[in-house]
Structure formats: C-alpha cells, structure tokens
Symmetry: C2
Subunit: 139 residues, 2 copies
C-alpha cells in the first residue's frame, strides 16, 4: 500500500487532494491518459479542472513520480515510476500490461551503450499486438 502523501513530499511536492487522487487512480489502473485520469478524478471532485491535471502531470513527470509511456497512434499514458519493465500493448483495446524482466536484455542494452559511448538513462520496451481477450472477441 503506497502512501501518496509521503511519496509526494519525498519528491518536494505538496500533498493536495487532487494529486493524491491522481496517483490513486493511476496506481489502481496501471496506465492512464490525461482524459482517463480526468474522468476518474472529477467524480470525487466535481470542480476539478483539466488544466490542473495537465499541470500536475507535467510536474510529477519532472519530479519523477510519474513516467510517460508514449504509444503508437494514441495519446501517451502515464504510470507510477518504478523499475523499468516491458509493456505489452494491445492495439485493439489499448490495454497495457507490465512484465518485469529486464534482466535478460540488460546485458545487450548496456553493451550497445558502451559501444556507442552512450550514457543510458532509461529503457522503454513496447511490444504491440493483440491480447488474449481481444483475440477471442474477434475470432
């Protein structure tokens, strides 16, 4: 169970009702677009402004509380910052599933970086395809 107030304070941000709820929804759903987040949080805070979502997402990405996940053909989603992982993205329903298994690819990524004298900061691996659920729908 994550304490969002502590998480925010640790990153130099005040723990407002809006921010806690943004984090709560992203934590609950895994990956959300700006619109997704707005639609959820406005339910518990009807006077919420979209501008507030934008401002906070930009800020929380800067402070490395959130990570942007850009997706081919769609708007970016945002997730809580955590260790790097693989995304399996369904091009039908848009669902994003995490897979924690960078151990097996890291050797290659670091070797490539060394070869190119590239200072590696972050890896994003996205596998695009059709999830099990959408395959059975279409079939």
């Amino acid at each position: 169970m994550i304490d969002y107030a502590v998480l925010l304070n640790e990153h130099g941000l005040k723990a407002t009702f809006q921010r806690m709820n943004i984090l709560g929804e992203i934590d609950r759903h895994g990956h959300m677009s700006v619109e997704d987040i707005y639609e959820k949080v406005v339910k518990v805070h009807p006077s919420l402004s979209l501008a507030t979502i934008y401002k906070n997402i930009i800020l929380m990405v800067e402070k490395e509380v959130l990570v942007e996940v850009p997706i081919v053909g769609k708007k970016s989603k945002y997730e809580l910052a955590k260790e790097d992982h693989i995304h399996m993205i369904c091009t039908e329903c848009g669902e994003v599933e995490d897979k924690l298994c960078f151990d097996e690819t890291d050797a290659l990524f670091h070797q490539l970086s060394r070869q190119e004298h590239f200072k590696l900061h972050k890896r994003q691996v996205n596998l695009y395809g059709i999830c099990e659920h959408c395959q059975s729908k279409t079939a």
Copy 2:
C-alpha cells in the same frame, strides 16, 4: 537506392511529387517529425501545405510505408518501414540512432508473448540517454 515511385505504387499509392519528396527526406535523415519534414520539402515545393504532410503521413503509416516512433516528451518522429530495430534516443539533441540487433532479444519477446497468449505484431525498443556528442558539449 530506393525507388520511391515503385515503393508507393506497391502499396497502392500514387507517386506524387510531394510523396516522393517526403520519402526522400525521411530516407536521408532517418527520423523526422511532421515539422521537420515540412521544413525540408517546402524548400523544393514552396506552395506545399502542412495539411498535405499530415494527410500523407497518416496515409503512409496506414499503408505501412512509414512507421511512427513516439518519443517521451516530444512529438513523434517517422521513419521508413523496415525490419524492427533498437532506437538510441538522445534526450539532449533529439537524435535517433538505429541498431539492428533484435536477434538477442527476440527469444525473450516471443516467449513472453506465448506465455500471455499475445499475438505479437511489432516491437519498439527505445533507449534514452545522452549521445557521445552531447556528452562532450556538456562536459
């Protein structure tokens, strides 16, 4: 040397001056944003409209002549469709470098897909960091 007219025709598209030049610039530069492309092609075709660039990029992505490369914190770039590869993206200057070496990771990606009953279509691996050139500038 790629024959852009043939490439377009093979994908069911007419070979217009605009399209050939869009492909030519992307081929020459590797990875370009909508604005990048416009700025280059307008030089050889001053009456070019941005709307034409948008329409053609959407069309050429649909027809799989081009591939969108979404990038954290920036606008997407587009590249010619070719075998999947790794992108090394410099967060300083925005340069994108290709690395053809999926052999080493494919086993993992396919194993994961099998495990999840996921029908894998495309892999995008992006390594974010600072390129050699930008490191020496900053240092």
